[in-house]
């Protein structure tokens, strides 16, 4: 009988402390082979630290993990043979050309002269970088660096690919093509663990999502499960009179039995509405109380709202796709 395959990643109680701050504070993670798994959370939540531990770049201060069945601590070189990582900052040599970067890394991975050049050219072509191949990387745009950086992680297709915010700084077309590539890799059996600040990205790609905040995993499930857990819609109201914000907030809280999130400027309120039809009633009651509004809208939960619903506090960044804080 065959041994059952170990999961791609099995982490238990991982901890990393920086200067007394518990950046990762006891995270368990189980990622099955071939899955696309998303780590969702605001800046500073500990996603990157978690990824760096699993990629052998940081030594955990507590807990343990097995990556493709290899122990992170005692078999780190075997772990490195199974993984590739594309970090948030392009891990490329700025002085070298795009082609030289890939050939150099291919040589490090064991490709010999001609096959190193062949593999490099193949990837440059696939990533539409052939024209820029002989320019120094310091003259590349952010999107081109990103692509080259991802290409570098695929010189040898790894069992597990770690992607730290893979599409941050990419234009929408490039983002879609990275998504397509990630799906194709997963179809071929590569396990993908990616971090993102964007709910949409997690939604589009990840079969499972772990929501990370303050170094802890506060929720895990499919995108549908997470959304169901926090209610499907949010009502946003912009008030005309700042003096009546408190009154309006209390009214909404009573009517909808859900906590109201205030915008930093104080004039806009957001509240979960379940079922969505109750928004009607809420707006009527506000009007009856004589609270004037500049506008209102209904929307699917944003990352901020997911966070608010799950943690009871707002994300510290409040960033939207495209504005990387």
């Amino acid at each position: 009988m065959m041994e059952p395959l170990s999961p791609a990643i099995a982490a238990r109680g991982l901890v990393k402390v920086f200067d007394e701050i518990r950046a990762v504070d006891g995270i368990d993670l189980d990622v099955p082979r071939g899955a696309i798994f998303g780590l969702l959370g605001p800046n500073g939540a500990g996603k990157t630290t978690l990824l760096r531990m699993l990629a052998t770049l940081l030594r955990p201060d507590g807990g343990s993990a097995r990556v493709m069945g290899h122990d992170l601590e005692s078999a780190s070189q075997a772990v490195r043979r199974s993984i590739a990582m594309t970090g948030q900052f392009a891990s490329l040599d700025e002085d070298l050309t795009g082609r030289e970067n890939l050939i150099f890394l291919a040589k490090l991975l064991g490709f010999r002269g001609r096959s190193a050049r062949h593999r490099a050219d193949e990837l440059l072509k696939a990533f539409e970088l052939s024209e820029a191949a002989d320019r120094q990387v310091k003259d590349y745009s952010g999107g081109m660096r990103r692509k080259l950086d991802i290409a570098a992680s695929l010189l040898v297709v790894p069992d597990i690919l770690f992607l730290d915010e893979p599409t941050t700084g990419l234009d929408p077309a490039a983002r879609k093509s990275v998504w397509r590539l990630i799906r194709a890799l997963a179809n071929q059996g590569t396990t993908i663990l990616l971090t993102t600040q964007y709910l949409e990205e997690a939604d589009q790609l990840a079969e499972r999502i772990a929501v990370i905040d303050h170094g802890r995993k506060i929720a895990e499930g499919t995108s549908r499960e997470l959304k169901a857990a926090i209610g499907s819609s949010f009502l946003h109201v912009t008030l005309s009179d700042p003096a009546r914000v408190e009154e309006a907030a209390q009214l909404l809280e009573q009517l909808l039995a859900s906590e109201v999130q205030r915008s930093p400027e104080g004039m806009a309120l957001s509240v979960r509405v379940n079922p969505p039809q109750r928004a009607n009633l809420a707006l009527t009651k506000l009007a009856e109380a004589g609270i004037a509004m500049d506008g209102f809208s209904m929307a699917a939960p944003s990352l901020d709202e997911v966070f608010f619903a799950l943690t009871g506090h707002a994300t510290n960044a409040g960033s939207a796709p495209g504005e990387n804080a």
């Binding site: 760096r52 990629a55 052998t56 770049l57 030594r59 070189q77 490195r80 043979r81 993984i83 590739a84 990582m85 970090g87 948030q88 900052f89 392009a90 891990s91 490329l92 040599d93 700025e94 002085d95 070298l96 050309t97 030289e100 150099f104 890394l105 040589k107 490090l108 991975l109 064991g110 490709f111 010999r112 096959s115 193949e122 990837l123 072509k125 696939a126 990533f127 539409e128 120094q136 290409a151 570098a152 695929l154 040898v156 297709v157 093509s177 397509r180 590539l181 194709a184 890799l185 071929q188 590569t190």
Partner: protein, 267 residues
């Protein structure tokens, strides 16, 4: 990216696991490419010692040694030592820059020989030392420097110089790993090396110095390095002199190579 391109990307071919030598050679290749792409760094590394040679020889040379020609004979082997020491500082700065940029994150997450990035830096250093030394030597020969030991003496001198560069290089790699910015590396490195280089016998014979300083100059390892270089190129070398010059680089390598590896892995 179309589906054909995607298919190219995801083919699963894995070359055989490379050995440490192959890794080190790849890093060495990178170092050569860097010299090719950033030739101006060679300019930085060579101009200062050439200026030193010209200024010291023609401004102070006559006063220090009776004549400029005379002084050149004394000074040139020493300035080569100074060049190699100062050049090594740049390698520490380069390491610090690389570390700040995520490039080392990739190396550290790859299944490679952990010391190979440093082996690569050293290869780059050796090349830069060699190129810079040859240029300065060429300038010296043009201006009348004549090594009494001839070609073989110069060749042995260059080998000693590379050994010195190799040993001293570890100090700045360690600094590059500890310091947060390349500028701090430079400030720290020059604060430390300036007194060692100037309070040595590179520029002046210490016999006119006050006693306490002469004592310092005589025990200063930079002095033994400069003396050995001078003797090798003048054909007066002794095994003891060469051994003394190699002692410090040897100790530095034995102590600091493991420290480098430890600092690198600890990050």
């Amino acid at each position: 990216m179309n589906s054909e391109a995607t298919a190219t990307v995801i083919q699963r071919e894995r070359p055989p696991q490379p050995g440490p030598l192959s890794n080190a050679l790849a890093f060495g290749w990178r170092a050569v490419l860097k010299i090719k792409h950033v030739p101006e760094q060679m300019f930085d590394l060579v101009m200062t010692p050439i200026m030193f040679t010209l200024l010291f020889t023609y401004v102070f040379g006559g006063a220090l040694a009776g004549s400029a020609d005379h002084y050149m004979q004394y000074f040139l082997p020493g300035i080569l030592v100074q060049t190699v020491i100062f050049n090594s500082v740049y390698s520490g700065m380069g390491l610090c820059t690389d570390l700040g940029k995520g490039l080392f994150d990739r190396f550290r997450s790859m299944p490679i020989w952990p010391l190979s990035p440093f082996a690569g830096l050293m290869v780059g250093d050796m090349l830069r030392h060699l190129i810079a030394s040859l240029i300065i030597l060429g300038v010296g020969l043009l201006l009348g420097y004549r090594p009494a030991a001839g070609f073989s003496g110069v060749l042995l001198g260059l080998l000693l110089l590379l050994a010195i560069g190799f040993g001293v290089g570890w100090v700045f790699l360690v600094l590059g790993l500890i310091m947060k910015t390349p500028n701090t590396v430079m400030t720290m490195a020059f604060t430390g090396t300036m007194p060692l280089v100037f309070a040595s016998n590179i520029m002046v014979d210490p016999k006119t110095m006050p006693g306490w300083l002469r004592l310092f100059v005589e025990v200063n390892p930079v002095s033994s390095m400069a003396s050995a270089m001078r003797d090798l190129m003048n054909g007066q070398a002794t095994w003891a002199g060469i051994g003394l010059a190699l002692l410090t680089p040897l100790i530095l390598t034995l102590v600091l190579a493991p420290v480098t590896l430890w600092l690198y892995r600890r990050r």
